[in-house]
Amino acid sequence: MRLNWSTLATLYRTELRMVLRDRRLLLTSVVLPILVMPLMFLGSNWSLKKREAKLQSLACRYAVQGPEAEWVRDLMSRTRERLAAEPKGTNTAPFEFEEVACTNALAALEQGEIHVILEGGKTPAGAAGPAGEPAGPAAASRKPELRPRSNSAPAPLPRSLRLVFMGNHDESVTCAHRLQEALEATRRAERVALLLERGLPAPPDKIAAFSLVDVATPGQVAGVNLGRVLTLLLVLFMLTGGAVVALDSLAGEKERGTLETLLTTGATRLEIVVAKHLLIITVALGITLAQVANLLVYVGLKLVPVPGSLAAAVTPATGALLLVLLLPVAALASGILLLASGRARTYKEAQFYFFPLFLLGLVPAVAPLLPGLPLRSAVAIVPVANIAMGVREVLIGSFDWPMLALAWVTTAAAAAWTTRGVLGYLSAERLITSSERDEIEFLGGLPLFRRRVWAWFAVLWAVLLVVSSYLEKADLRLQLLVNLVGVFFLGSLLMLRTYRLDPRQALALRQPRPAVWLGVLFAVPGGMLAAIGAFHLLNFVIPVPPQVLEGFQQNVLPQDIPFVQLLFFLSVLPAFFEEIAFRGLLLHGLVGRFRPVTVAVLVGVVFGLFHLALFRFAPTACLGVMLAAVTLLTGSIYPAMLWHFLSNLGGVLAARFDIPLAHLDAGGYLAGAGILCAAFWILWRNRTPYPGLNAWRDTRPRASQTCNE
């Protein structure tokens, strides 16, 4: 499908003109925030300063009670003297406090007549209230305690001081904290004076002092902080800024009837979707920039504090790279909004979709806030989350180019997929008619399964990701049981049931020719070497740290599991359940839609992605392609099951008995390739192709028979 740039420009220009004339949008998205933000900042700044000033100049009123009241008064008097002796300017405001005589101190505290009660006693801290008196209402839970000890004669029992305050009164809280600090400082000064008097050569804080040294540059520190939230902020702004336009763009047009008119013009669906995409990105970025510029004004006016090192974190080159990285995120956010708008029949319905989408969009963007999550992990293929991680790494000066490229491509692919989805909605007749479904949706069965197979496996992948993270530290057997039975097998059963698929057809339960078994036996060693070779090839591009491999081997081959059980869990179960899911249902959903080679590659790639570790992707995807190929050639799942079983068995045995499969020379790998070719020759000679393998040829002209491009 070609784009006519002139038509695209006309569509974009006209849509933008209409948006700019939408006073409601301009008012709510641009003007109001620009006006409200300064008021908000000024207001909050003013009230904060006012509050601080009020609390700073607060004269603290306290009551003293308890059997050690006199000792407390003495301590307060010494504190007053110490503060008076301090050079001026040490404190922002002089700390004033005065004792108030009360008959019922607790009632006075509750009524706000005093701010704090100082209770002096002889019981140690943490025990019941001093002198048998009940503690204040909040004191028991908060325990703001000090335990000063007199520097004169030692007391027979340690004295204690309890500060009782009201946590729901600002003034009471501030007074309690300031009194606590002042009293502690007094005790500290007295302790130091005593130690020096007794011959300590230097103040205690100068002896065996330790200090923190941060070797990160201020730019890196600022960068990591900015990187944690930058993508989140962009997604937030994109979704909120683009929402009004996006929801009106398709859902609003449907409601007004203008979409029907637009669809009868010479503009193609692609041109319409691209123009709307560009419009949403323009408006959302425009609103974002307006807000950022507005924010910068207040930063300049010092109404919003930012660290001075932020500029060091974002150099012009870094800024340009960030822009490139964030573009697919903007496109994806726009695509998701358009999808919601396309799905809805009315503007109101589109609004219902917005809030869940908003939350869903923010979830991956918070990935940089998770502690210890590196970009070089499964997150690299999670759209948005990978860019968010990449942005954080770029901002701390770490440029992992292969992973950044992978992140960019993955998110861009997701954005393209949403565009394709919007195109699908524009071609769907439910946009125009009251009919709910098309023929495939109405009739269900295999055609509907083929349409939805990607969605099913995307959901399975997400479930697997969540389950795996949750069970990361669990027993290996439990992990495998949950993954293989709970996710793959139950998912497969659900697909079979939902689409009323014939298990024999869907799972390719057919008997292959006898010679096929011989071919599989040959193929296993060659396949293993090919998979290892694929791993080495990928390792050139994305090197895997040796400790990662060692850690993986220790996790997969724990010493505490009997070897026979290990063989069962690692060889038998995957060969059965993974084959049912991937060479069974996934392959069944793709056959007939693509060329056989494409089907094999797609099944392999998906199989690789389901192994959730980047370093496992290449070997498992390679094995997945070969297993799909043998299923397509033989029309049966059994050879793939046997191959998978033997391959995993070989891997476990090699690891257990230290057979150096991964360290062969080139000759070893060449021999493996030769064996593999021989095996596929046997399989080819004895092929009984998968039913409907060439149906893709028939679907080509049918696809062009649609009215909608």
Partner: protein
Amino acid sequence: MPSACSLIPPVNPTVIVRDLTKVFYDDSRGELRAVDGINFDCRPGEIFGLLGANGAGKTTTLRMLATILKPTAGRATVMGHDLATAPEAVRRSLGFSSATTALYPRLTARETLDFFARINGCPAERVSARVEELIDRFGIGAYADVRVDRLSQGMKQKVAIARTVAHDPPVLIFDEPTVGLDVLNALDMQKLIAAFRDEGKTILFSTHIMSEAQKLCDRIAIIHQGRIHACDTLASLRAATGLYYLEDIFVHYVEQSRSQAGESPASTSCA
């Protein structure tokens, strides 16, 4: 007056419909054959009317011809372009006016005409001249620069029709164009449609108003439950039924179709 942007030379016949079928699938109604194997041809300089009750399949037929809906079976061509294989060429060859004016409320009349002329492929250097020509012809100069949402229904209808012919297409499709208009505006509309016919355009016109069909259409197809039960000139229909008024003729064919419903009669061909 010569057109500012003639696109495609007329071909005879301009619209050919063969066994066109549309089936909808719905949870509540099940499988619904909205259009069931209809056939007809339309020629330049002709107003071809689809006359039927609400839900007869008129709009679905016109929407298929406008490439908004995909036919379930059958084929159709507009100006020699197949709906299935060349939908863009089909759309550039026709102007479609739906039952509602469906105009962009925040554009002016002039901007609306400019926009539709451009996206329908009118060469950029001719757009301005074409827009001025349309403003003159439809008498919308007084409010050409007023936003559409501030216009009256009659004014909007004129702009909508001007928008339909902005790229001067050889085939025009009007889906119940006089719905919601007062008598005077409806008469204006009928005059405009007749004028397009006189310029040699092919006009497909759907209505359930008998007097309108009687007055305007050169040939009338009576459509009921997705099938065409009669298709001819008014004179021929009168001769075939022995009835004078179109309303009586319409009822005659509808009742005939009901009586034959059990026998599943084939659609009348109008090719």
